[in-house]
Symmetry: C2
Amino acid sequence: MRLPLALSALALLAAASLKPLTPSEIVAQAPTTAWRTIPAEDVLLIDYQGGGRTIIQLAPSFAPVHVANIRALAGGNYWSGASVYRVQDNYVAQWGTNDDKKPLPGSVVRKPPAEYTRSPRGLTIRPFAYTDSYAVRTGHSRGWAVAQYRDGQVSLTHCYGTVGVGRDLAPDTGMGGELYAVIGHGPRQLDRNIAIVGRVIEGIEQLSALPRGTEALGFYKEGTVAKRILAVRLASALPAAERPSFQYMDETSASFAAYVRTRANRQDDFYRVAAGGVDLCNAPVPIRRTPAP
Amino acid sequence: MRLPLALSALALLAAASLKPLTPSEIVAQAPTTAWRTIPAEDVLLIDYQGGGRTIIQLAPSFAPVHVANIRALAGGNYWSGASVYRVQDNYVAQWGTNDDKKPLPGSVVRKPPAEYTRSPRGLTIRPFAYTDSYAVRTGHSRGWAVAQYRDGQVSLTHCYGTVGVGRDLAPDTGMGGELYAVIGHGPRQLDRNIAIVGRVIEGIEQLSALPRGTEALGFYKEGTVAKRILAVRLASALPAAERPSFQYMDETSASFAAYVRTRANRQDDFYRVAAGGVDLCNAPVPIRRTPAP
């Protein structure tokens, strides 16, 4: 009775290959062509005293003046000795010098324009198929989740790990010296109200696992900080051999489409019911370290 | 020229009183009638070795068998010496004995029914006006955010601080000995796939600020834990004088309506553009300590 046995082995094999993939499996199996390398001048490294590193991808297409400021501040060693001085639960961790008298590198624009939204001109936006609680429509462009509004303007979105520019009240937009990362449920009400300059792509736990500040808005008590920053540098400023390199998944790839569809319709073993939808912030653009050639 | 001066002082006063309130100000100003006291048998206290406490409100209307199990486990001192053994960034912190051979108090139902959803019968649901990425409609009932689906069934929702029952693969639903709290962007894809039993109402930072586990899914390495649990008790088991008491804001109150509307349309000084919408998870039901009489 060899034939039936062989057949059922084949049937098992077929069943295994038809088993729905998880989003992580889709990402792991994505071909090289689905990935785009992030330029080294868009990769910002924060090294902390006592060890640990947080890595941020900058978004020059969406906040060019603020990103240019951040590159200039990093190049001018502005953040050496800066600190993480605010950690508000389910909201943000914020760092910088918290000193508006500290001298700035010459090219820093002190009052940047309000880069809270931009025109969609020049952007190809891949529509995101699922409903959003905040924007008329959403999609992805150049590796970023974007929201679009009634007036046609486009913004990046406040999701977990999003990095924005701390500011005082309008019309001050913040020059980029004080930055925050989202460490809770995406505070999308901030979209269009603040300059988003990037996202954490590695080492978010260096910020999210910090003790929460005990003062109003999660600020640390005067004279205390959550942790000190040793240096903030662009990857492009490092010797080539020390430069970490990252890739994001191209939103026009078949892998990305499958990834989003599966995020909205989990059917792997754990799931009894597929949601049939997904929040933009629950389908973050996949990022990976560039594999060795 | 006294009259004009007096007039402009009045005008200033009027402007001040017309200044849009923040959600926190609406909550702080809500009258006593807007608040409902949470029964002491729905308040679960987790005390940690070395200090610190997390307080959970149980949801017996939505997962009655699981909640009865949790009350029995607390009454039987089941969690003394248990631990937080999993902390996954932007997902959950999980605690329990991680020991499926530990004897259970007699009344614990070992295989509870799948209380992932319930019939809407008997629930008065106050509609939530804004779009949701997961459910056909959403609203609030008995102080809880609920989602409703095509089949009419209702579930609680996975938002920041939501507490659910860890389980293995279906059809096991977990008996309630292993619990998790959401410490990241609301993983709403878990709705209808797991039993939600409550929400953290105080001390979430005892879980959210823990070092992330280094193993797969944020588990701690074999033999290590994030922290140890001293005791888990119901507030009703404490002497009256030691019992913390909490209130939630009634979803049928004018204050709650104003709170949600303002969450969707922030117009206080910081905001340049009101969102015009809000994610259900970004309008958490206000909770407060019961004020002294």
